[in-house]
Structure formats: structure tokens, C-alpha cells
């Protein structure tokens, strides 16, 4: 009797294990961003980035292809920024500006790994709350949606999230580009804009 009961327990445990395996496998499909070894090395050395820009390069005409993730981590206190391409270290550049007091500089408490390509607008609102503004712009046959969190006092801090046809296209955390900055930005990118 005891043997039979133990057998049933083992069978149940094995079934539960298989079930959990199946669930974890299903959940791993693009639902989180795992930091690469070089990204972990940067966090170990300098901590989490104080500002970051993350963009997903969505291959045109290939909607089911895995989007390419390009990140720029900005370390204001260390006066450098780093680029990662799909988690691989690309380059490190000096910002040329030393920020003596980080507390006075805009920075974010968010971590880049919180964002992943399968995030939808609903997921974002569920995670960070209702944005201060939502803009929608037509871009050819596509639609751009920008969710702006503009209050430093709120949980996510200053955060801009761009969605391209409902898919996460970009995250700008720790700062927002202001009207005064636009001229500089336009001038800098003028030659490069297609």
C-alpha cells in the first residue's frame, strides 16, 4: 500500500516537473532580456547606466524576424557611453563632459533589462502606469506611438517609449529631448537623415 502511494507521488512529481518545464520553455521565448557577459561586466565595474537609449531595429517586411536590440548606456559620472549590439560590446566613447554631482544630473533608476521586444502598450501601462502624454503619428503606412512619462517624481522617472506599429521600437530613459535641444539634434543629424 505504501509502495503504491509512493509510486503515485513520484508520478505526480514527474508530471509537475514536465509541466513546469513546458511553461518555462514557453515563457522564455523573448519575454525577458538576459544581460550579456560584457553588459554584466559593465554593471560590475560602473553599476547600472545612469541614462540609456534602447532601440529595436525591426526588419522591414519581415515581421516575424527577431528584432535587433541596440543599446547605449550612458555613465555621466564616468564621462563615457557604451554601445551594445544584441548584447555584444560594440564601442565605448567619452562623453567629453564630466558631471561632478550625479544627484543634480538627470538620471534613471530603471534598468535596461526590464524592457524586451515583446512588450506591448498594455504591458508598459501596466508596468509604469498611465503616461503623461500619448502621441500618435502616421509614418507612411506605419504608425508611431510615443508614450511620455515626464514627471521625475513618478515611479519610472523621465521616460519615453516609442512603439512602431504597436511593437516596442525605442526606450529613452533618464532624460527627454526638449525644444531647446532639438536644434542641436537636428543640426547634428541633418547630414545623416535619409
Amino acid at each position: 500500500m505504501i509502495t503504491r502511494f509512493a509510486g503515485i507521488q513520484v508520478l505526480l512529481a514527474a508530471t509537475l516537473f514536465l509541466l513546469l518545464q513546458g511553461l518555462s520553455y514557453g515563457g522564455a521565448a523573448g519575454n525577458s532580456w538576459k544581460l550579456s557577459s560584457s553588459q554584466r561586466q559593465y554593471i560590475k565595474t560602473y553599476g547600472s547606466p545612469q541614462q540609456f537609449i534602447l532601440l529595436y531595429d525591426l526588419p522591414e517586411g519581415n515581421v516575424s524576424a527577431a528584432p535587433r536590440r541596440i543599446e547605449s548606456w550612458i555613465y555621466l559620472s564616468a564621462a563615457r557611453f557604451v554601445l551594445f549590439d544584441n548584447g555584444f560590446f560594440s564601442e565605448e566613447q567619452p562623453t567629453g563632459v564630466k558631471v561632478p554631482k550625479l544627484s543634480e544630473a538627470p538620471h534613471t533608476r530603471l534598468k535596461p533589462e526590464r524592457f524586451h521586444s515583446s512588450m506591448t502598450q498594455k504591458d508598459i501601462i501596466r508596468t509604469f502606469g498611465k503616461p503623461d502624454t500619448t502621441e500618435t503619428a502616421a509614418f507612411g503606412s506605419h504608425t508611431y506611438t510615443i508614450l511620455r512619462y515626464l514627471s521625475k517624481a513618478r515611479k519610472p522617472g523621465v521616460l519615453n517609449i516609442s512603439l512602431y506599429d504597436g511593437k516596442l521600437a525605442g526606450v529613452v530613459a533618464g532624460f527627454a529631448i526638449q525644444p531647446a535641444d532639438m536644434d542641436t539634434l537636428r543640426k547634428d543629424l541633418q547630414g545623416r537623415m535619409p
Partner: protein, 299 residues
């Protein structure tokens, strides 16, 4: 009666277990099937243009389509990187949550952002990386510091000349160490230990109070510290001459010698030692009182 009720209860429990197992198995099969299905459906379809390009059969239309896709991608990347601020008409909005600027008017930081976006979009216009580029030195040294090797890195030793500049790799440090070994009498005699940087000779364990001559016979000698790379290798006192100096002979005639500490930077060559404590000038003789002085009174 009691027994019958117990049996019925047991049978009910068993059927419950079996139902649970059947449901769990069904769920597992369902999830497994769904996972398999998602794997099949999310295969990357190859567009016709890419396919033809691979076969070197791309038409001008294909090339146009691919080029347009490229520029579209780059533009999308820039807009996304700028937080959507580059969309005509959309642009940034004043902060409705609180008065004052969003990023507290820090012009310096505002100057960084265009550069960052420039590099970011430049990266997007290039093929995706498939491996890390070489990490910067600052990060590599961080890796070394964190490997639990005890924390000492000769490349960062300020006591070593050119540390961190001339010595670029542990291999180079090894090579210098090998050079040092080779310059010692008797080749790579590991018993030879350079003394502290202040030039003080520390008696070696198991060799204290030994006759310098005997130690020479074993191929050993004491050396002042070796400074890699700067050619400042200096020999210490000439112990053979030191041992034969009558002033160093103990008056009781026991014959034991104890090596004195060498002064920092002493660098006394055997020549200079001869001038100060060597044999007496011609016509003089060493005093027999054990002081080691010269007695020239006899002349």
C-alpha cells in the same frame, strides 16, 4: 460497516488522483504542442528579394526595395533613439507634470545626447554584431581584479619602473623575470631572492651565519635589488674580500662571520671597498690589536 466505508473513501481518493494525473498530462501535452507550433510558425521567412540576392539573381526592383528598407530602418532607428522627438509636428512637449525643465537645464548633458544618438544610429546602419569587440583596458583590468588571484598585479606596481606603461602583459613580466633569473650566477638558481627595495639584505632562511665563501661555493651570492628595465643592476659588497679583511676577523678567533646590512643605495663596488677597508698601504701593517687599523709607525 466501518471497513466498507473506509474502502469506499479510499477508492474515491484513488479516482481523484487518476483524474488529476490525466488532467496534468493533458495540460502538458497542450503546452508542448503549443510551443512546438509557435516554433514552427515563427520561423524566419525569407523574402523573395533576399532569396534572389542570395542566388545572385536580384533584379533592380529588388535592390531598390532593399535599399528603401535600409533607409526606412535607419530613419526609424533615429526617431526611436530620439524618443520620438524627430517626428515632424510631434516633437517634445512641455512638462505638464511640474513646472521647470525636464532635464534640469543642463546644457552639458544636452550636448552629449546628439553624439550618443549619432553613434547609435550609425551602429543600426551596420550589420549586427555577432561577437564582442575587444573590451576597453579599464574593464579588462577590472576583470583581473575580480578574479580572486590575490589582488597583486605587477603591471600596476608603482615600485616597478614603467609599470602600467612599458609592461603591457603578464607575458612581458614573465620575460623580465626570466631575464633576471638568467643574469644571476648559476642561471636560474631559485634560492636567490632579491632583497627589499630599500636595499637591505635580509639573511635567507637556513643560510644565516654561513661563511660567505662557502655560500659562493654553492653558486650563491647576495645582490642588491634588481630594477627591471633600467639597467641599474648593482652588485653588493665583495664578500670574498670582506671575509679576508682582518678587521672583520673576530678577536676571539672563532672565525664566524655575520653579514652586515648593506646601506640603501650603497652600491659599493669592490674597488671602493678596497679603498676604505682593504689592505694597508705599502710599508704599513695591520695592527694586531684586533681593531683592523694600519700601523705605519714602524716606517
Amino acid at each position: 460497516m466501518k471497513k466498507k466505508a473506509g474502502t469506499r473513501l479510499h477508492a474515491g481518493n484513488e479516482s481523484g488522483f487518476f483524474t488529476l494525473i490525466v488532467v496534468t498530462l493533458a495540460l502538458t501535452a497542450l503546452i508542448g504542442g503549443a510551443t512546438l507550433l509557435s516554433m514552427v510558425t515563427t520561423r524566419q521567412p525569407v523574402s523573395g528579394a533576399m532569396d534572389r540576392l542570395d542566388r545572385n539573381q536580384a533584379t533592380p526592383e529588388d535592390m531598390n526595395a532593399l535599399q528603401n528598407a535600409g533607409t526606412e530602418m535607419a530613419r526609424t532607428a533615429r526617431i526611436a533613439a530620439a524618443g520620438g522627438s524627430l517626428i515632424g509636428g510631434g516633437g517634445p512637449v512641455p512638462n505638464p507634470a511640474s513646472p521647470g525643465p525636464l532635464s534640469p537645464g543642463d546644457k552639458a548633458i544636452a550636448g552629449i545626447i546628439p553624439r550618443v544618438i549619432g553613434r547609435l544610429t550609425n551602429q543600426a546602419s551596420q550589420p549586427a554584431l555577432t561577437r564582442d569587440n575587444p573590451l576597453p583596458d579599464t574593464l579588462r583590468s577590472g576583470q583581473n581584479a575580480g578574479n580572486g588571484s590575490g589582488g597583486y598585479n605587477p603591471l600596476h606596481d608603482p615600485n616597478i619602473k614603467n609599470s602600467g606603461r612599458g609592461l603591457q602583459s603578464p607575458g612581458e613580466v614573465d620575460r623580465l623575470g626570466q631575464d633576471f633569473q638568467n643574469q644571476l650566477p648559476g642561471g636560474s638558481d631559485t634560492r636567490q631572492q632579491p632583497s627589499g627595495m630599500d636595499g637591505t639584505v635580509i639573511p635567507q632562511p637556513g643560510r644565516g651565519g654561513t661563511d660567505p665563501a662557502a655560500s659562493d661555493n654553492q653558486g650563491g651570492d647576495y645582490y642588491s635589488p634588481y630594477y627591471p628595465g633600467d639597467g641599474r643592476r648593482r652588485r653588493g659588497p665583495d664578500w670574498e674580500r670582506w671575509a679576508t679583511d682582518p678587521r672583520h676577523r673576530p678577536s676571539d678567533g672563532r672565525g664566524g662571520h655575520e653579514k652586515p646590512a648593506v646601506r640603501p643605495g650603497g652600491g659599493s663596488s669592490s674597488g671602493s671597498q678596497q679603498g676604505t677597508s682593504g689592505a694597508c698601504p705599502p710599508g704599513c701593517h695591520v695592527k694586531r690589536d684586533g681593531t683592523g687599523g694600519c700601523d705605519c709607525s714602524g716606517n
